[in-house]
Symmetry: C2
Subunit: 246 residues, 2 copies
């Protein structure tokens, strides 16, 4: 395989645990790709697309990525989470997933759902996370409908979930509309982190985020449209605050 | 259906969220049954079996339980968690699950795995939680092997998980042995709560439990036998402390 198969990689780290969503708590490695077609107001990984880390981007083939994973965690992982940015911009992610599967390693991936890739059908834990109004982004529902329809047609909905991050009541309304639109897709609500500075005190931050989580829980419990929802905080932020690379 | 179908019920409450295990975060109602064949040293629901709440036990039929659930949360749930004590002592739980299913409501249940019931095959989210050494209980592996074998034969492993609560390193060793023994069953590690007094300050308790969770995460990340594990705290305790009935 040549450099034509390469991916723009910003971070490779682990093992750590997945702090969010459908496989929360799972021991996993992280591969973070560069580039995003969105610019969410509260993006917690803006360095992947705002140019601030562009000198850190490395073009790596799937073999090189796997070799690096095995070097930093020899025999110590069976699950890799591909995050971004938006990894769905990258056709070659499909080759990385193939390579992981060939070693018996599972792959999880999160994307906002702005673009389809055929390799979505091969992701073991696919999280589609459309962005609510507070992000200042607009959802393209034609694309999102198409993604869900293709996953359903490919009999892959059981490996997928929808996740909406909620900062305020308008976001919660948006979340409800997403859940209503795709009632047969596993649905997760997640607390938005409104204090993303790396210098925030971790204990104070945890207590602040737990009270925000409690508020989201209250909204969910009061809302009959949310009976099938799962509502979760970001566990890694509760434990480690806003540090990168843990 | 007569009182012959009745179950000894100690608490019915909700909606709230499931704070633990395979459906963590799920909006759910709780039905807590009385009675346990164990007496774990750190049991957080000893009132179900130590006689202290025996005057609160009500003998309720599945119809009566469903009526009460609908009264306290009309149209506001689609999932019920049956907990104890050990609900696997009660043959009639199968009738309650049938009744819930007939209304389109899912059922989750947790048991320590000391006893089989045929209705295990009908539980949507079945958590088997064998007790580690710190509980001072002994696992009957003949029974546990049989339970897992029957779930496998019934093609129900995808609706089941194993969960081990860990207080110390001996418990972690026990957890590893359980995961090794049943490698094809979804496996969860959970932080043990060593401060179960109802008067503990919730914020201090959360910070204490998060540091214990971090320690369990560290052990899991360092251990190659745990690559497929999921490691989780008790979310409800982080939010609400040790209060009952939330
Ligand atoms: S989609 Fe994700 S990576 Fe892209 S800007 Fe939004 S939060 Fe950031
Ligand atoms: S098995 Fe559960 S309910 Fe029974 S004593 Fe142990 S912790 Fe308590």
């Amino acid at each position: 395989m040549t450099k034509q198969a390469a991916l723009p990689v910003l971070e490779i780290f682990g093992p750590t645990f997945q702090g969010e969503g459908m496989v929360i708590g799972r021991k996993t490695m992280f591969v973070r790709t560069a580039g995003c077609d969105y610019s969410c107001s509260w993006c917690d990984s803006a360095f992947t697309w705002d140019g601030s880390a562009k000198d850190d981007i490395r073009m790596l083939t799937p073999e090189e990525i796997l070799a690096e994973l095995e070097e930093i965690a020899p025999d110590n992982f069976s699950h890799v989470t591909i995050s971004g940015g938006n990894p769905a911009l990258l056709k070659n992610v499909g080759l990385l997933i193939e390579k992981l599967h060939s070693r018996g390693v599972e792959a999880a991936l999160e994307t906002q759902g702005s673009r389809w890739q055929d390799w979505f059908l091969t992701v073991d834990d696919l999280t589609i996370s459309p962005k609510p109004p507070s992000s200042l982004m607009n959802t393209n529902f034609a694309v999102l409908d198409d993604i869900v329809a293709r996953l359903r047609a490919g009999n892959r909905l059981s490996s997928a979930s929808l996740k909406v991050v909620v900062y305020d009541e308008a976001d919660f309304d948006y979340a409800r509309s997403i859940h209503r639109r795709y009632p047969d897709v596993a649905f997760y609500l997640q607390t938005g982190n409104d204090e993303t500075g790396e210098d925030a005190n971790t204990a104070n931050l945890a207590s602040h985020l737990l009270s925000r989580y409690e508020r989201l829980v209250d909204w969910t419990m009061a809302d009959k449209a949310m009976n099938k929802a799962r509502v979760l905080p970001q566990l890694h932020t509760l434990v480690w605050g806003n540090q990168r690379g843990v």
